[in-house]
Symmetry: C2
Amino acid sequence: MQPRPRTIPEATVARLAVYLRVLATLADGGRSTVSSGELASAAGVNPAGLRKDLSHLGPCGVRGVGYDVALLRDRLTRVLGVERAHGCVLVGIGNLGSALADYAGFGTRGFEFVGLFDASPARIGQRIGSLQVRALDELEDVVAATGASIGVLTTPAEVAQRVCDRLAAAGVRSILNFAPVTLTAPAGVDVRKVDLSVELQVLAFLGQQRVPAGVGESA
Amino acid sequence: MQPRPRTIPEATVARLAVYLRVLATLADGGRSTVSSGELASAAGVNPAGLRKDLSHLGPCGVRGVGYDVALLRDRLTRVLGVERAHGCVLVGIGNLGSALADYAGFGTRGFEFVGLFDASPARIGQRIGSLQVRALDELEDVVAATGASIGVLTTPAEVAQRVCDRLAAAGVRSILNFAPVTLTAPAGVDVRKVDLSVELQVLAFLGQQRVPAGVGESA
DNA sequence: GGCACTTTGTTCCTGCGTTCACAAGCGGCT
DNA sequence: AGCCGCTTGTGAACGCAGGAACAAAGTGCC
């Protein structure tokens, strides 16, 4: 009865977001159809895997032809839930927070910042884009008033857990954490972590592993 | 003959980096030993998984007691290859690039920016921290002079691939890409991608999946 | 109208990552 | 010195993601 199996693997969802971006680019370029091979190449994945990913949302291509760019884009937009813009609050307006608040790429992808917060009086009142930085005290009120569903944390590590708790209590259901700590959130609240140091350390490891420099250097 | 099996799964490496950070915090707090359960809890993973991760680098705990904090931290530091600082070049000094260049967290974790580059004359010469933004022309020279092994891309999507090619040609072996495009690099060059929009879209999907809001909203 | 080519959607299979459960080893107590 | 409890390290099973190969289907051409 349900056309969608309703359970799409998380790894697949992440790739769907990538496909969506590629499709947007193709649509801008005037393309009307794409084959799985071409799309997979642009997204950096295996063609078979791409078709399997897409199969999770039912048949949406035409055999012998490929996928309709606009159609597939709209369907992905719906499935990913970015049909309507999601309100986001951003806590911690340091360097990284300011950069994110000012990043234009979010607005065009279904996300809109509806509140910027910081604890430092020096930051409060500062304008970034079309928003003003507010005091942390107003966090709950703004979340309630705007119905923001996503919280982005760019605070120092020491206060991240406390802010996370407040966001969850205020009704935010998804949190994107840039602070270098592992957060614990109540059930029903999703937390995703972006850790730049970890990414660099993985790269460092892969680099040194590829060339075990210093091992056989005895000449 | 080789004490290390030499092949550590990438997912494990990412977690090792997390453990390392937790250990650093514990060491600062004066703790001398930790059990796998406590460490796993702080890192947000399964205790058994943590022990398996650690087993990849040989026995390094004491049964009945736990792990020596300082000892394990040093060993992880060595294994991850952040014993010596890695030189990083950062290309694209926009909002995000500036934030990363100014982020103090990297220096304490074995990474040091040795060059900041931008194509815009308006940016060139600007000082961020202890470095000056240089013209993109100098990229190859600086990489050669400093032996930088890691490149960080925070450029617009349109030029990311070109810069990636130049970095690879200049001898950079690891690239961390923040630009919203899928890069292709020659063999021997590792590319890791951090895509903020994708993270948000995954959150949006998980949020809407949990509550099919809008289905019963007849009011 | 029929045929062949192209491309999707699916199925099978292989490999990896994760988890659970047990045996081995070490410290502390008696 | 011997025993007990605690914790690590490892072996095995489960589940999942990724990749390759095959069948179905639709288009364009002859």
